[in-house]
Symmetry: C2
Subunit: 216 residues, 2 copies
């Protein structure tokens, strides 16, 4: 019975999401420490299971067991399975981001770089269809604010607008990034339904990018 508002997973009793520093200073509510470990173990276990049998194989009991925490604890960290899925998906994006840092897209035009990123993500997802499935579903179904669409759009924005963050991008750039990631999601869906090959997706993303560029 999903309640309208389900806060995203953060170590227990952490008002804002910004827990990082404080080593010996005036802490007062955050248990940070083994909790980060625990959270990591959980997401790891979940990811491992998901990359096998997909979301189905990622059963809450099993995740808890593998992560070595009680079911109740798992639920304290992730109020619903969807939240956990979203977290796993987040990890995946981290990977993509660091991959892009390591080897930035080389295309010369903004749209080209955006396409490059999307196709790289596509290849990554094709390697683990089960996870891709979970990702797409979570992306679309999430009632909570999906961090995924936002992040992917931001990512596209950065590579296409070359270092700009969302706030500084022009409306036009935002539109490019947003539209492209929309199209991409649609294509991924089709792929999951077995109606697209990698090549087809590439062609269509290219096409969409071209169109957008012409429109601007």
């Amino acid at each position: 019975m999903r309640t309208p508002q389900a806060p995203i997973a953060t170590p227990p009793s952490d008002p804002k999401g910004t827990v990082e520093s404080q080593s010996t200073s005036g802490g007062h509510s955050v248990r940070t420490r083994s909790q980060h470990q625990r959270r990591k173990r959980i997401v790891q276990a979940a990811a491992a299971l998901a990359s096998r049998g997909g979301v189905e194989a990622m059963q809450m009991r099993t995740v808890a067991e593998r992560a070595g925490v009680a079911l109740g604890t798992l639920y304290r960290y992730f109020p619903s399975k969807m939240d956990l899925v979203v977290a796993v998906v987040g990890e995946e994006i981290d990977l993509l981001e660091s991959s892009i840092e390591r080897r930035p897209p080389s295309a010369s035009t903004p749209a080209g770089r955006a396409v490059d990123v999307l196709m790289r993500a596509t290849r990554g997802l094709m390697r683990e269809p089960e996870l891709a499935d979970a990702l797409i579903r979570s992306l679309i179904m999430a009632e909570v604010d999906t961090p995924f669409g936002e992040r992917m759009t931001g990512l596209l924005l950065r590579v296409s607008a070359d270092g700009l963050t969302r706030e500084r991008a022009t409306e036009v750039q935002l539109d490019l990034a947003g539209s492209l990631s929309s199209v991409w999601v649609q294509e991924l869906l089709e792929m999951l339904r077995g109606r697209r090959t990698y090549e087809q997706i590439q062609r269509r993303i290219d096409l969409a990018a071209d169109r957008l560029v012409n429109d601007l």
Copy 2:
């Protein structure tokens, strides 16, 4: 445990979906008669529940009860809840189609007529957000071939290509219809997340249609 292939709901033991005629002739397997009634009662009950609390309120036990059939029977007609949702959604499209027959879109350009249809559908959906939610989700999640996307695309095709059926439409027209309904779905999603108003959707659909037209 969703098995890969879940046939869409049709009165029991009905090989092809084309059951209509035969009144006294060589029938042999179809029980048609009260079964159509039963099916209708089920979908009706389901729709009623869904238009209240959404998919969540549409519990299989409750649906069966309200429809006056046993749970097992419900499952005989609709092998999974998703199938039932799809059926309910189908009803909704029927409504849209007949509405369009009654009062065809008046715009002068093909794209204009397509936009007209989409916006009419949008208004209808906004009236029952819970159902809209169910619709969109089912549309996107369905593992079975979603009849929804197909039907909506076909509908757009008919109004935009003015009487042509799918087979006769040019690739270009197909693309128009397909792209528009993609965009529309995305916009509806945003609306459900509270990030779009009717006006915004209208503006964006218009824009998308314009773009497409220019591309053709």
